[in-house]
């Protein structure tokens, strides 16, 4: 009987000690960064002992949630304007904003035979639907429209466009075959230096404005050791290599 209180005390002390060192950071992550974030979070836990819990979604929705008191400490956005806006509104910890990745746009099809000669598939126009992310709200959608304008196919293809609310949904439309092809983030269809399936055309970066994705520590992250550690970790060479392996520039 005596040993039980002792064991409990020991456990409580242990738990207390762990809590003091290892903290948890809640990270709001842009949908396009889902795959790399999963790898990074795992490595982060192993290397630092802290834990990063991610919520994935659209940048606009996160903006609404953060300005209304959502409990995220770090925000990895899909663009650079939303973190800047939050900074202007005093919702972030000043001086913490930086570009963690620059996105690459890819024209992708689940059909391995469809995209054989790059952008020409758009000019031939022999498909039913072309999926893009909503250009009003998603940076990859804005970039997709810029590319179609540069290729002068935007007016011809306008009746065939379907919009995903974010890049994850756009990918879903294409991967289920409901749209034969679509502009998605390279990170969604790319792993370890190659396209994971189907066929693709990696859009040259000079055809659209760079898709700069900024990270920032939010005001709620003040005093959270894991938030600081996570931001430092994002800047490490190890993580940069992970981010590159998913098809981002950095």
């Amino acid at each position: 009987m005596k040993t039980i209180p002792k064991t409990l005390t020991a456990l409580a002390l242990l738990a207390g000690a762990c809590a003091a060192q290892a903290e948890t950071v809640q990270v709001a992550v842009a949908a396009n960064f889902t795959a790399p974030m999963k790898v990074i979070a795992e490595a982060f836990a192993q290397d630092t002992g802290h834990k990063a819990e991610a919520a994935y979604g659209s940048t606009g929705k996160f903006y609404a949630q953060i300005t209304n008191g959502a409990p995220f400490q770090v925000f990895l956005a899909a663009d650079d304007t939303t973190p800047a806006k939050l900074e202007d509104e005093g919702m972030t910890r000043p001086g913490t904003r930086f570009t963690y990745a620059t996105g690459t746009l890819v024209l992708w099809s689940a059909d391995p035979a469809l995209i054989k000669d790059g952008a020409r598939v758009l000019g031939r126009n022999q498909f039913r639907k072309l999926a893009i992310a909503n250009p009003k709200t998603a940076p990859y959608g804005t970039a997709a429209v810029e590319v179609m304008k540069a290729l002068q196919v935007d007016q011809m293809l306008a009746p065939k466009l379907v919009q995903g609310e974010n890049i994850a949904q756009t990918y879903q439309f294409v991967s289920t075959g409901n749209a034969e092809l679509g502009f998605v983030a390279l990170s969604q269809a790319f792993k370890d230096g190659q396209i994971t399936g189907g066929s693709a055309w990696v859009v040259p970066a000079e055809m659209h404005e760079p898709i700069r994705q900024d990270a920032v520590i939010l005001k709620t992250g003040e005093g959270n050791a894991a938030a600081n550690a996570f931001m430092d970790y994002l800047k490490s060479d190890k993580v940069k290599a992970i981010i590159r392996s998913f098809g981002y520039e950095i």
């Binding site: 659209s58 606009g60 929705k61 903006y63 609404a64 806006k85 039913r128 639907k129 999926a131 909503n134 009003k136 709200t137 466009l161 379907v162 919009q163 995903g164 609310e165 949904q169 879903q172 439309f173 289920t176 075959g177 409901n178 749209a179």
Partner: protein, 225 residues
């Protein structure tokens, strides 16, 4: 501020979708409700459960399976392609079919309850007066179960207007075809255009309130749904 042209297009589209869905649901839902109200078959339970499924399933489940089923590799998609309709996702008619399924319980259940409440007696009396089955239905069931039909129509319409998750998943946000009011509001919020979002969102609140007010005022005794 006020409504933009895109807002008006979305509102018109939403009403067209809801109107058509309600009409189809009254046509399809009435025989189902009639059968459910009067059958003693062992299939009554399973069929009733399938009709009620959209009440409990999240729209993500319905939207996801509709997207897969209606897609080029899905059973519905292969059927529609074989008969020459093409694929349904990203089309107005795709939304109509999804809405019929999604709003089904809101139409079937009030009608079913109203018919069950009638009991056998009025129909037996009508039969002894030599009314045929169709005559009994239109001269006895419809007038007596009128509150149930009214509730069904109003709820079916309102629930379709309020649909969001399913439309988001199979719609593709095409102006004039699949961009309904709820999606338009979502877009405004995503784009941080909160002023425009408020206009449409507040209109939805007022509209929904008026619909329910009409339902409860016109139909004060109808509480069976």
């Amino acid at each position: 501020m006020g409504f933009s042209d895109a807002d008006i297009q979305a509102i018109w589209l939403t009403f067209r979708l809801a109107g058509l869905t309600t009409l189809l649901l009254l046509l399809i839902g009435t025989p189902i409700a009639w059968w459910l109200a009067r059958t003693r078959s062992r299939w009554k339970g399973p069929v009733g459960a399938v009709v009620a499924l959209p009440l409990v399933l999240p729209p993500t489940v319905i939207g996801f399976y509709l997207l897969v089923a209606m897609g080029p590799n899905g059973p519905v998609g292969q059927l529609t392609q074989a008969v020459g309709i093409g694929l349904l996702p990203f089309t107005f008619w795709g939304l109509v079919i999804a809405s019929v399924f999604y709003s089904m319980p809101f139409v079937v259940q009030p009608i079913q309850n109203a018919i069950e409440a009638l009991g056998e007696r009025p129909l037996e009396v009508a039969a002894t007066l030599r009314a045929g089955p169709w005559d009994r239905f239109f001269s006895v069931v419809v007038p007596l179960a009128r509150p149930g039909f009214l509730t069904a129509a109003i709820l079916g319409f309102a629930h379709t207007v309020g649909e969001f998750g399913v439309v988001l998943m199979i719609g593709g946000n095409i102006p004039g075809a699949t961009r309904v009011v709820s999606v338009q509001i979502y877009d405004y919020v995503e784009a941080m255009e909160y002023g425009q979002a408020h206009w449409l969102a507040m209109s939805m609140v007022i509209f929904s309130f008026l619909v329910l007010l009409a339902l409860y005022t016109l139909n004060p005794n109808q509480r069976r749904f």
